[in-house]
Symmetry: C2
C-alpha cells in the first residue's frame, strides 16, 4: 500500500485503538499464529527471496549485502523462533511505573501504555520485517514498515504471512502495514505528525539525517558509535588484550565496535606493546600518539590526529593514545565520544566505579567489551534499534521503550480549591 | 548574555559536567544559598519589578498580565519557600530504574542521569525564573532561561541572586544562564542541537509552534487541553455537579479546565437540567446537542457543532452532549480529545475502571476534577511544565522527567562471541 494511500491514517488509528486494548493472552496468541503462518509459507518466502537475490545480483549488490538479504529454511526457522521468543517476553503494557496517594486522598498511578504507531525505516535485511512486527504487536503498537526496495518481494510475502496470522487471531491486518514508497513519498509521510507516533531509522547516517531533516514525527535514532576502551594501570593484561581485541576486531563495521584505545602511561612498557602487536597481528592499522609509536618499537604506527580520535573508522583501523591518568582518559572521552558505548579495563574497583559514574554514554562497561550494546545481548528480544538520544530511550531499545505512560487518578469527588 | 554569545555553548557544557557529578548534599546546599540570596535582595527585586510594572503599564499590558508580573514581599517569600521545597524533594539522579544479570554474568544497571541543559522559554511570570533554576539544579541540569522582555529587569535581579547563591556554594554561575534575546536569535539558538538537550515552552500555542518549527533540539510541549468530563448513569448527582463546575468554572483559561461535558442519556430528566442550571448560574454560555437543549427547558442553549466539540474555549463557554452509553462517550473522546485530561463521574467501579483503561490521555480521572493535572498537585514541587507528547514525558513534568538514563554494565572480562 502506498504511503499516500487514502485512509491509511484512519485505518492505522483504528488498529491502534484495538491493539491498545488487547491483553497479553491475545497478543501472544497472535504471535503464535504468525509464527505458524510464516512456517507454512516457507517455500513462497524462499521463492520470492530468490527473485530479490537475482535482481540484487544483477544490480551489483556486494556479497555482504546479498548475504544479509538471503533467507533459507534455517533462517526462516530462526525467524519463527524469534517471534515465539518475543511472545515469551513480559508484556510491558499496564505495568505500574509508580503509585502514590496525595494528602487530599487522590490515588495516582502511572502506568505503561502503547506508543501507538511505530514507523521503522530499514535497509536490506528482511528479517527486520518480522522482528519489528512481532515487537510492535507484543507492545500493543501498530508497525508501519518501510523496507528496502532490494527486499521488496521477500518483504511482501513475509508481511502476507503476518497478515494471515493477524487475521486468524481476529486482529486487524492494519496492525502491521507495508509502507513501500519512494524517498519523496516517505518525506511527505513523516512530515505529518498524525501518521505515526515515532520513527525509528535502522540504517546508515544518510537515512538518519534524511529523517531528522524531514520528520515532524519524533525520531529515535542512534548516532554513530565512536566507542572507547580505556586500559587502566594495574589491570589484568590478559583481560585487557581479550577485551580490546573483541571490541575492535570481532565485527569492526558495527556501531558498538571500539575505535579508540586509551592506555594508562604506566603500561607503555608492558601491556601496550603486547596490545599493539595483537592488533597488528589481527590486521588492524594503528594510528597513535608519540608514546604509542615509541611503545610500538618500530611497528608501523601512523601519527593520530584529532580527526582520527573523532572518527568512527568502521573498519580494521584503530586510534591509540597514552594518557597520564584516569582523569585524562575521562577528559578525552568527554571530548570525543558520541555517547554510545565506552569501557574501562581495571583491577581497581573504585576507579571502575568512578568511570561508571562519570562517563556520560548510553552504555558504560567495567571489564567487558563494548560489543554487548545490543537488544539481544541485553535480553530485550529481537532488536528494534539502539538509541543515543537523551530523551525517551537511551541504549538498546526494548519493549518498554515502545510504550508511553498515562496517569490514572482515582478519587472520591475531589475538586481543586 | 546574548544567545549568540561566544563560548556560551562551551561554558554550559562545562557547567553540565560539574552539575552531573554533584551529590544531593551539594545540590541542596546550593538551593539553600540561593534562597538566602533571594531574601537578601528582596528590596532590589521589588525595585526592578516596579520598573517592569511601570513599563508594562505604559505598554498597555492587561491588569491580569500585570498581576502575573508583580512581585511583593509575600511573593518573594513564597519564591524562597518554593526553592526550599525543591531542596526537600528526592534527588532523581543515580536512582536505579532496573537491574538484572545476564546468563553470561554481566550485571546490568539502568540508572538516572541528568538530561544536561534544559532551555525553558516562558512568558510574563518572573517566578518561573526561580522555579526552573531550582528544579534544574536539583536534577543536575543546567537551566537556560529565556524569559519575557516584559519581565527583563525583574528576571535580571532574580538571576543575579541565583548566581550569588551558586557562587557561594562553589558552583559555576553557568549552571543557570540568561538567554535574553530576540525571536530571531532564539530561532538560531534552537537550530543547533549542541546548544541544549531539551526545550520546554511555557506559553501560548504560537510560542510552541514557533519552537517546533525552528528547533532541532527536542521540544517537550503540551498541546491545548480539550478536556472532557463524562457524567455516567447512576452517578452521585451532587458529586457530578461539584466536579463539572470545578472543572469548567474555577479557572476557565487554563489547559486542564473542561471544555465538553458528556452526559449519559439516563440523566436527561434529572442530573442534566441541574448541571445546566448551575453552569448558567455561574455565567457559563452553553452550546449543546438537541437533547441538551430539550433538557434545558427553555434555557438559552446554542446548537453545538463539531467545531465546538473540537475547540478549547479557554473561557466561560461549554459544549454539552448527551450520549447513549459509555461506549459513545469513549468514541466521542477518542475523536475530539487532545489527550490532556479527561474525567468520568460514576458510582459503578467497573465502568470507572473501563474508562481509566481505555481513555488514551496523559491524565485520566475517576471521580475527580480535571483541574488536578499540575506538577504541584501531583507533588512534583514547583512546576516546570506539562506534556502531552507521547515520548519521554507525559502529564505533569517532574524532576524524574528531567533525567535521562544510562546503562552501567559490570563484568569480569566478558567478550562477545
Amino acid at each position: 500500500m502506498a504511503a499516500t494511500a487514502d485512509g491509511l491514517q484512519t485505518r492505522t488509528r483504528e488498529a491502534r485503538r484495538v491493539l491498545a486494548r488487547l491483553d497479553r493472552v491475545a497478543k501472544d496468541a497472535a504471535l503464535e499464529t504468525i509464527a505458524v503462518a510464516l512456517h507454512a509459507r516457507r517455500d513462497a518466502i524462499i521463492a520470492a527471496n530468490g527473485d530479490d537475490l537475482a535482481a540484487g545480483g544483477e544490480a551489483g549488490l556486494s556479497r555482504a549485502l546479498l548475504d544479509r538479504l538471503m533467507l533459507d529454511e534455517a533462517r526462516i526457522a530462526a525467524l519463527c523462533q524469534a517471534v515465539r521468543d518475543v511472545a515469551a517476553l513480559d508484556d510491558p503494557c499496564g505495568e505500574v511505573i509508580e503509585r502514590f496517594t496525595r494528602p487530599n486522598g487522590l490515588d495516582i498511578t502511572k502506568l505503561r501504555f502503547p506508543l501507538g504507531r511505530v514507523l521503522v525505516v530499514y535497509e536490506a535485511r528482511p528479517n527486520v520485517t518480522v522482528d519489528v512486527a512481532a515487537l510492535c504487536i507484543k507492545s500493543g503498537n501498530v508497525a508501519i514498515l518501510r523496507g528496502s526496495s532490494s527486499a521488496r518481494a521477500t518483504n511482501a510475502v513475509l508481511l502476507e504471512a503476518v497478515h494471515a496470522g493477524l487475521t486468524s487471531a481476529g486482529l486487524p491486518p492494519h496492525a502491521a502495514v507495508d509502507l513501500t514508497c519512494s524517498r519523496d513519498e516517505l518525506a511527505r509521510f513523516v512530515a505529518d505528525p498524525a501518521n505515526a507516533e515515532v520513527v525509528i531509522p535502522r540504517g546508515g547516517e544518510a537515512l538518519k539525517d534524511f529523517l531528522i531533516e524531514h520528520s515532524r514525527i519524533p525520531v529515535l535514532a542512534a548516532a554513530g558509535g565512536n566507542c572507547h576502551v580505556y586500559v587502566d594501570a594495574g589491570c589484568d593484561a590478559e583481560m585487557a588484550e581479550r577485551i580490546v581485541l573483541n571490541a575492535k576486531v570481532q565485527r569492526p563495521g558495527v556501531c558498538n565496535a571500539a575505535e579508540t584505545i586509551l592506555v594508562h602511561e604506566a603500561l607503555t612498557a608492558t601491556v601496550l606493546p603486547r596490545l599493539l602487536r595483537s592488533l597488528a597481528d589481527a590486521g588492524v592499522e594503528i594510528r597513535g600518539c608519540d608514546r604509542t609509536a615509541a611503545a610500538g618499537g618500530g611497528m608501523p604506527v601512523a601519527t593520530a590526529t584529532d580527526d582520527d580520535y573523532a572518527r568512527e573508522f568502521g573498519d580494521l583501523v584503530v586510534a591509540v593514545r597514552v594518557v597520564d591518568s584516569l582523569d585524562d582518559a575521562l577528559a578525552h572521552i568527554d571530548r570525543f565520544s558520541t555517547g554510545h558505548s565506552e569501557a574501562i579495563v581495571t583491577a581497581d574497583a573504585a576507579r571502575g566505579e568512578r568511570f561508571a559514574a562519570e562517563v556520560d554514554s548510553a552504555c558504560v562497561y567495567v571489564n567487558a567489551s563494548t560489543r554487548f550494546t545490543d537488544g539481544g545481548e541485553f535480553g530485550f528480544g529481537a532488536e528494534i534499534g539502539n538509541s543515543t538520544a537523551r530523551l525517551h530511550a537511551r541504549g538498546p531499545v526494548g519493549l518498554r521503550d515502545l510504550t508511553t505512560s498515562r496517569y490514572v487518578v482515582r478519587g472520591t469527588g475531589q475538586i481543586r480549591t
